[in-house]
Amino acid sequence: MTAVVLDGIVLGLQFGLLGVGLTLVYGLGGVLNLAHGQLAVVAAIAAALALGAGVPAGVAALGGVLMAGLVGLILDASLMRSVYRQPTEGRVLLGLLLTLGVSFVIAGFLVWQFPIEALSLNIGGGAVELLGVRMRRGSLLASAIALVAGGALLAFFRLSTLGRAVRSVIQDEEGAKLVGINPASIRTFIFVLSAILAGLVAITRSMTSPVPVTAGIDLTILALVVTVVGGLGSVPGAFVAGILLGIVNTVSSFYIGQYITSIVLLAAAALTIVLRPSGLLGQRP
């Protein structure tokens, strides 16, 4: 049982990282980016291609993540601006539909161009013992990266001027403008950051299991569930929800089955919406 739970935490940390990106973009602009998972796949495929060309793993991983960020930047500059210009009511719907379209474009293109690509980062070395359970180095490295990233994010938002500026736009956009903060720039920054985080998750996931070119939809759904359960717009919420759901995922997969597990996770999201729309730690209902 311990092994299952530990595996769940490892998975959950990455779930959390995946959800954080999505929740940030929503918190800042009310846009639910249904192409989030596809951005992760962009990183995976870019890294896989680089690896295939002989580039060292670390550089390939970095390149993949940056590629995801680049695609995010292009998306923001081209489409997101139009979405943010809409008044709140129309914005949510337009954001959902446009990002849905984008996810199909990216998925379609990648699957067409690289139908059998998948990213697998092999972290060598034997297993390590943790709490009496043998863990693969890949799992531990993935968790370490996720923890460091999470910590860095929290520090960023709490302590840095830019991080504070991001929070201010979420809390009162007009007030932010009055102190000289440009909400549009902040939104671009966060969108690119979320793309980078998505790419990072693809990299860490590939350390324990391959990330195929078709993984986009599953990753988006995961991010969606984590975000909803944690509370739309809450960064700590995404982490907490991520870890919880990671454990639920591994426990359920182990004792019940794969298909039911997916349904369980989706039901968790649906139940959260129905019973407590603000999620675990959401500030706004």
Partner: protein, 308 residues
């Protein structure tokens, strides 16, 4: 009503034109089915702004349940179809009711229905005994009847589509419809004017879902073989969105026009494989970015303005 009759008359000529080509008739029937889906989605989304991202799933509920009722439980075909459609109706109504009771806005309805879509897809894959998993399910019931034919099935589905259009028109024209239209523009004003926004949302959810369940069930008995991809989100919902965004959200014949155009386009794009997905994605982006209510309505109003 005249427009519906005219459309019906026009469409009923299609089998004569297509002749005996089994393939082309299959396409035409597929087009009718998608038109029916689109009209149903128009009721739910076009009229009352409920983002039901579970069009395929609700149709799938109709399809798989009816197949099981008929083949496994041995119920007569009409009873199976109706029962399956009723369950789909109940589900859709439930989504509307929950959204209304909890005052959920569009994003949450979208997420819940999307979650349902995906859960249903997983359910279909997992419950092999009832669904055949990813290998699909053969539907025996209906195999000796008119529903399995070509021309006969075509006219059956045409009748169903025309009925849906008539229901839509009746909704639009009734005091319920007036409420629907005022909902589109300003919910708060509608509330103040005494329009019961909640009740109409639920009614729309029920009616639209009934349409979807029925169409899905009939499709199952017609095709004789269904798989999860018959009703998958990527196959059904995306196309319906594009059809409606093109033909005109909230218009009577928009869904039919959109279905006609994209059934043909879809077939033309078959050779391109995965790029077809890219094409649909781009269409969704372009259509929703540039046209608020649909491409055709925007173009016709521009034409009208040019003429004036």
């Amino acid at each position: 009503m005249r427009a519906i009759l005219a459309t019906g008359a026009l469409l009923s000529l299609v089998p004569l034109w297509l002749g005996d080509s089994r393939f082309l008739m299959g396409l035409a029937i597929g087009g009718l089915v998608f038109a029916a889906y689109a009209v149903a989605f128009n009721v739910i989304f076009g009229e009352t702004k409920q983002l039901f991202l579970c069009v395929g799933a609700l149709a799938g509920v109709g399809g798989y349940l009816s197949a099981n009722f008929a083949d496994r439980a041995g119920w007569p075909l009409p009873a199976s179809v109706v029962a399956a459609a009723l369950i789909a109706t109940g589900l859709g109504g439930l989504f509307s009711w929950v959204a209304v009771r909890r005052s959920l806005d569009v994003i949450f309805t979208g997420i819940v229905t999307l979650a349902f879509s995906l859960s249903y897809a997983n359910l279909l894959l997992g419950q092999r005994t009832f669904t055949g998993g990813e290998n699909g399910l053969a539907v025996a019931s209906g195999s000796e009847t008119a529903i399995r034919g070509h021309a006969s099935a075509y006219y059956l589905f045409l009748a169903v589509l025309l009925t849906y259009l008539a229901v839509y028109r009746l909704l639009q024209r009734s005091h319920v419809g007036w409420a629907f239209r005022s909902l589109r523009d300003d919910e708060q004003a509608a509330e103040l004017a005494g329009v019961n926004v909640s009740r109409y949302r639920i009614q729309a959810g029920l009616i639209g879902s009934a349409m979807l369940g029925l169409a899905g069930a009939l499709l199952a008995h017609h095709e004789g073989f269904i798989t999860p991809s018959t009703y998958a989100f990527g196959h059904v919902d995306v196309r319906v969105l594009v059809m409606l965004a093109f033909g005109g959200i909230g218009t009577l014949l928009g869904p039919v026009l959109g279905a006609a155009v994209f059934t043909i386009t879809d077939e033309l794009l078959v050779g391109v494989g995965q790029l077809r997905e890219v094409a649909y994605g781009l269409l969704v982006i372009v259509l929703f970015l540039f046209f608020r209510r649909g491409a055709i309505p925007a173009l016709t109003s521009r034409l009208r303005r040019l003429r004036a």
